[in-house]
């Protein structure tokens, strides 16, 4: 008999190689043509604590990390007890029903019904290859694939890539994995269901990497930033590729500098970006308004983590929407994007650069820890760029005005270095030419006209706002509104409800601001509207209800963890029946 899907969790302490083991397993699946998605549960410590890595792989597209655990690798006793105990229910997923792989040295522990306990001398085998027990996670990975009876050579290839080729360390790891593979097969036999694989190879990539790659595709030339989880994955990716991509990456003294540099670079005429998490973004706030007033394009990658303040640095949340929309004093045009998955992040990064330049305004690319850091398979990317930059003056324009009062609100830029078009770009209020009107005599009429000119850009932008995507909405009686990274889990919860005969559908907001009025039509006639948000106050609901008067019940989560499909489906059902 075949099976289509497997969910594996690797549990252990920080420093035990949980994450690297998880990534190796995920890559073996993606190279076997399986759709794969991972989730990393960790704390901000370098050693100790409890972390785990969940990998879900399937012949069919996977949208979330999933619920039902099939295989557990427990690297220590705590992990073994935690992830098998039905009462603990770590992370919201259902407790293990399948096999548990653990080290013989663990000793006594509580056993639970329905689990096949597969003890393996992981440390002992590991010590064959190195003095310490560091390789025990590799032995355990081998055991997993021995159990699944998958081609060992693909695993060996992934391990070699992970350890940089065919060196001695790589081969030691391959041998350790082989021992685990054989040991499991001999002692416990293969799984009775074989996982369906295929010859396809998928790309396995995180949201942070995807944002960086997507920006490079559309002409990114410089990235300025200051490390802060979970906005670091994009910096790490771009920094390690800066030479091959010819992208200048600068780690600055602070986030104020990062955004101001990015604005300076955009002013000069190259595409530059900055990014941070909520705390660092708070520091950027004043410069956001500066870019808007001076009409200089800027794209800000904002990766949310659980706040307030330092909050939960390694935990996910969608708690920064109001901060981003409200950032900086005064009214000005802006756009906020919230890509729903890794692939969309790639395209939206490029689109953000286009919109920022066309409209000469701030554009935010909002992700969260879940999206920035989890890995997902993608079948491919369109590598061809689709750059739209708007108009630039060349130097022979008569009577050039930097902030010309145009019908669409967009005025032609003249980059420094352009012959004859010297002008001043000012954070003080100014007239069409850029001359300041704020000092000495403030001119109310000019002020109104330039304010209206800037805000007209928003009206123009609204005309090209893409329709809000939906899922199973055609015949839906209940509308679930989500934004950003919760797409996958909400869709799976919708499917669960549908299987129970409840006609639910999802409205998937990937451009939360300006609010798309089409949402009003989408909810028309629905029996109930439910917002799903990874925050306390329902920030999207607050924005949508104030802008277009659509509101509904809130299903929320603010414990720092992402939603899980089964639990979410139950909550939605409860909300529907209320």
């Amino acid at each position: 008999m075949d099976r289509n899907e497997v969910i594996i969790r690797v549990g252990g302490a920080a420093g035990e190689g949980v994450q690297s083991a998880g990534l190796i397993i995920a890559k073996v699946f993606s190279r076997n043509g399986l759709h794969t998605l991972t989730y990393n549960y960790y704390q901000s410590i370098i050693r100790g604590g409890q972390s785990w890595y969940q990998i879900r792989a399937s012949k069919n597209p996977v949208k979330s990390q999933g619920d039902d655990l099939d295989i557990l690798i427990a690297l220590n006793r705590d992990a073994l007890e935690r992830h098998t105990n039905p009462r603990i229910n770590e992370g919201g997923a259902s407790p293990l029903k399948g096999i548990a792989i653990y080290d013989s040295s663990i000793g006594n522990f509580d056993r639970h019904e329905g689990i096949k306990y597969c003890e393996i001398p992981l440390s002992q085998i590991a010590q064959k290859y190195s003095k310490n027990t560091l390789l025990k996670n590799t032995v355990a990975i081998g055991a997993v694939f021995g159990h699944l009876a998958m081609d060992f050579e693909i695993l060996a290839g992934v391990i070699r890539d992970q350890f940089g080729g065919k060196g001695q360390i790589a081969e030691l790891n391959v041998d350790a994995a082989r021992d685990g593979y054989n040991y499991f097969a001999e002692k416990y036999g293969k799984a009775d269901k074989v996982l369906n694989t295929s010859k396809t190879r998928y790309y396995l990539i995180s949201g942070g990497e995807s944002a960086g790659l997507g920006a490079v595709r559309n002409g990114l030339k410089a990235y300025f930033g200051y490390p802060m989880t979970p906005a670091s994955s994009i910096i790490h990716y771009l920094a390690s590729h800066s030479k091959s991509f010819d992208v200048f990456v600068k780690i600055t003294e602070d986030e104020i500098s990062a955004i101001t540099m990015a604005i300076g670079a955009n002013y000069t005429g190259i595409r530059a970006m900055t990014g941070s998490s909520g705390g660092g973004f708070a520091l950027m706030t004043e410069a956001v308004g500066m870019a808007a007033e001076m009409e200089i394009p800027i794209v800000i990658y904002e990766a949310q983590r659980a706040g307030p303040s330092t909050g939960l640095p390694t935990k996910t949340e969608q708690g920064d929407l109001l901060q981003v929309i409200g950032a900086s004093q005064g009214d000005f045009p802006k756009a906020v994007f919230s890509p729903r998955n890794v692939k969309e992040t790639y395209y939206m990064a490029g689109e953000a650069l286009n919109i920022a330049e066309k409209y000469q305004m701030p554009v935010f690319l909002m992700v969260d820890l879940y999206l920035a850091e989890h890995y997902e398979t993608v079948d491919g990317f369109d590598l061809e760029s689709d750059i739209e930059r708007g108009e630039f003056a060349k130097g022979d324009e008569k009577d050039y005005r930097r902030y010309e009062f145009t019908a669409d609100g967009i005025s032609m830029r003249a980059l420094p270095g352009t012959k004859n078009l010297m002008h001043n770009e000012d954070s003080d209020e100014h007239d069409e030419k850029g001359d300041v009107v704020s000092d000495a005599v403030t001119d109310p009429e000019i002020r109104n006209r330039i304010m209206e000119k800037r805000m007209r850009k928003m009206e123009t932008y609204m005309k090209e706002l893409t329709p809000t995507p939906t899922y199973r909405m055609d015949d839906a009686e209940y509308a679930v509104i989500l934004w950003g990274s919760t797409q996958g889990v909400v869709e799976e919860a919708v499917d669960i409800l549908r299987n129970k005969g409840i006609k639910a559908g999802a409205i998937e907001v990937n451009k939360p601001f300006p609010v798309n009025p089409d949402i009003k039509n989408l909810v028309k006639g629905k029996k109930k509207v439910i917002f799903v948000e990874n925050n306390y106050t329902g920030q999207l609901r607050r924005i949508i209800s104030s802008e277009i008067q659509v509101t509904g019940t809130l299903v929320r989560k603010y414990d720092g963890e992402c939603f899980y499909p089964g639990a979410l489906a139950s909550e939605l059902e409860k909300a529907i029946k209320e």
Binding site: S242, I256, S385, N424, V436
Partner: protein, 284 residues
């Protein structure tokens, strides 16, 4: 055609108080730029907020009049993005040594190839006369009615300790001398910092033209070795009856643009990366 001072003449008339030190810099900067043959279309004047920071409004060049304290990050990035441009950052002592302190320090350590001129009037001018980070102890201002109790910072020794490769001081009472130093600063490869005593005739009754005239002397008139860092620190600390002006310190060093491989070519002109399948192979 030769570039002249007139090429830099803006259409907006400066509205600083009559006698304000900034007028001297409004002469010295265009003089220096034009004498070096730099065309206004290739010059960018970047500033923050303050009376002094209004400078770009009054010059005919590319102006970037940003927010309080943030001229240096913008100025550096403009230079990195297009190294053909001549970038001069200009602003006040509050702008540069309060809000912008961290940028000042890091800009110096990076040796970013820009010129930074501070109109140091030892007061907040624009906000109508509050103590600044360079106000002397005891100075009475609106925010220090009983006299300032915080010792002033020393911008010159701060720049030196940050590793600045060109450190100078000037006085608005001597435009010619200032203009020569600005020229040398612009020609200097790397970060050139020039602190200018620029009297605020309205709000600073302590550090007036007369105050400085009585005290300043020119370093080149003495046997000062501009390559000697220790000597430069000593001169930076000199305050009282005699206050030095001119170049305190200068040395050759690589700039970020020399060292960072992605800046070897001019970013504004280097071709945009075209992604090819090999670029995403690592994810397979």
């Amino acid at each position: 055609m030769a570039i002249t001072m007139a090429d830099y003449k803006g259409t907006v008339k400066a509205d600083w108080c009559p006698g304000c030190g900034n007028y001297a810099q409004l002469t010295a900067i265009p003089m220096a730029l034009s004498q070096l043959g730099i065309s206004p279309d290739n010059a960018v004047i970047v500033s923050g907020i303050g009376c002094s920071s209004n400078m770009p409004e009054y010059m005919r060049a590319y102006g970037f009049h940003g927010i309080h304290g943030r001229s240096l990050p913008a100025a550096q990035a403009i230079k990195w993005a297009n190294k053909d441009l001549t970038v001069v950052a200009y602003g006040g002592d509050g702008d540069g040594f309060n809000e912008g302190t961290q940028h000042f320090y890091h800009c110096a350590r990076r040796n970013s190839d820009i010129t930074y001129i501070v109109s140091d009037n030892q007061i907040f001018g624009l906000t109508t006369g509050q103590a600044s980070p360079t106000s002397r102890i005891g100075m009475k201002t609106k925010t220090t009615p009983d006299g300032n109790i915080e010792p002033p910072i020393n911008p010159l020794s701060m720049a030196l300790s940050a590793g600045a490769t060109f450190v100078a001081r000037e006085f608005s009472g001597d435009v010619r001398h200032m203009q020569e130093t600005i020229k040398k600063g612009i020609q200097h490869k790397g970060f050139a910092f020039i602190d200018v005593f620029s009297p605020c005739v309205t709000y600073n009754k302590d550090n007036t033209y007369d105050f400085f005239r009585e005290r300043v002397y020119r370093l080149e008139d003495e046997k000062h070795d501009t390559t000697d860092l220790i000597a430069a620190f000593k001169k930076a600390g000199e305050w009282g009856d005699r206050i030095p002006t001119g170049i305190l310190y200068q040395r050759e060093a690589a700039t970020i643009s020399d060292v960072d491989p992605t800046l070897k070519e001019n970013l504004i002109r280097s071709p945009i990366k075209k992604l090819v399948p090999e670029d995403i192979e690592e994810f397979l």
